[in-house]
């Protein structure tokens, strides 16, 4: 893993280090399945009940409240989204808190109000939960939120890595990197964006995914919410899992100018920056335009666009980006959390 034998922050970055931790430490220890087939949610067949989709995720974010959301909204939407991209209708979620001693109750109220609002708006109830308090570790008291969720697979849904075929279109539902940059711009010590004009895209996207599946059924091949590691991680994972090369076009990728400006300032590549309210969907080429049109009707996806295509099976599957200036470069799995740079 690494020389120190200790967990680094980068292990949670969603890149190569996270994958190594899962495949070399977590799965062997619990005697779990092969890492290559791991999805963000598990489909379980229960006799006499049928299939359910089950997922869990824990959330930490600094700062706890940021423009466009907070850890409450993030944890509710994140789990809804993990269910949604598996082709499920999210039904219920749980919410568990790990609070550090000294945490402000006023702040806790705001976070939970926000979580409650998000769940009501999404039509997904919070049905159970838990609270633990631990000793304070840092200078300021922190919070970790875990949510788990259950969804029911949509009858028409046929999504999976194995469904991708040559020529399928890759769609993204809107501008990339807004969440990661909005949060980075508010970090203690950095405080780049003083008025909070750069807003996180944090949102539940199940209405988008459900509309896609209800309209196009099995022509929707695969979906993923490009969170940690951004679009780069999602596409690199797709190429690795399908064994297919992918080509995407820089000029077709929706970009938010404010996010771009902040990314340029801090030396980030927006392709590798986290999103919290976007879906990447692979659909049959023949419904690509219609799917984009359908998505754009929803305010969450008004900038949806086809950004590239699934290529053929390749010995060395690569994600290639055709740049604005006509060059080509390879998109890789980010190796951990990027850091802002100056010089």
């Amino acid at each position: 893993m690494n020389q120190s034998g200790k967990i680094l922050l980068a292990h949670g970055g969603g890149g190569q280090l996270t994958n190594e931790l899962i495949s070399q430490v977590i799965l062997p220890a619990i005697g779990g399945q092969d890492a290559s087939s791991l999805e963000d949610a598990a489909t379980i067949e229960i006799p006499d009940v049928g299939k359910i989709i089950f997922t869990t995720d824990s959330y930490t974010v600094e700062p706890i409240e940021f423009p466009g959301g907070d850890i409450g909204k993030l944890s509710v939407c994140g789990t809804i989204n993990d269910l949604a991209v598996c082709g499920a209708r999210p039904i219920v979620i749980s919410l568990a808190l790990v609070l550090e001693e000294g945490f402000e109750i006023g702040l806790l109220k705001r976070i939970l109000t926000s979580a409650g609002k998000s769940s009501k708006k999404a039509g997904v109830s919070i049905v159970t939960g838990d609270t633990k308090v631990i000793e304070r570790h840092g200078d300021t008291a922190g919070i970790t939120v875990n949510t788990a969720g259950i969804g029911l697979p949509l009858r028409q849904a046929r999504v999976g890595f194995d469904r991708n075929e040559t020529g399928d279109a890759i769609i993204i539902s809107g501008p990339i990197g807004q969440h990661g940059m909005a949060v980075m711009a508010q970090r203690e010590g950095l405080k780049i964006d003083i008025t909070g004009s750069l807003i996180s895209d944090c949102a539940a996207i199940h209405n988008l995914t459900m509309k896609l599946i209800e309209s196009f059924g099995a022509k929707v091949k695969w979906m993923r919410d490009p969170t940690r590691g951004g679009l780069s991680a999602t596409l690199a994972e797709l190429a690795a899992a399908t064994g297919r090369s992918i080509e995407i076009r820089e000029s077709e990728i929706p970009i938010d100018p404010t996010a771009l400006a902040v990314a340029e300032m801090l030396g980030f590549d927006l392709l590798s920056v986290a999103n919290e309210g976007k879906v990447v969907a692979v659909v049959s080429a023949d419904v690509a335009d219609e799917a984009v049109k359908l998505l754009r009707k929803d305010s969450l996806a008004s900038k949806a666009n086809v950004i590239g295509e699934i290529g053929k099976v390749d010995d060395f599957p690569l994600v290639e980006l055709l740049t604005r200036s006509g060059g080509k470069r390879i998109i890789q799995m980010p190796y951990g959390q990027d850091l802002p740079r100056i010089c």
Binding site: T195, S197, L260, A261, M265, L266, K303, C343
Partner: protein
């Protein structure tokens, strides 16, 4: 080395400017460009303005700004 980005000064309180970066408001110290005034385009590096830019040149030179203009029009 040395990332720097063009931005426009929106307000100035002694040597601390608030600059506009495609909508994001960022603080920048103008000590190194004391002649900078509200409305000027400046190049910001690590929280300091390091030069004043000619408005004509700005769009001509920085693809990132042309891109942003295009994006804002969309």
């Amino acid at each position: 080395m040395c990332l720097a980005i063009p931005a426009k000064i929106e307000s100035l309180d002694q040597h601390i400017a608030t600059v506009d970066l495609a909508g994001a408001k960022v603080r920048a110290d103008t000590t190194l460009t004391p002649e900078a005034k509200v409305g000027d385009w400046v190049l910001v590096h690590a929280g300091y303005t390091i030069t004043i830019l000619d408005e004509k040149d700005v769009r001509e030179t920085f693809a990132v700004l042309r891109e942003m203009d295009e994006l804002q029009k969309r």
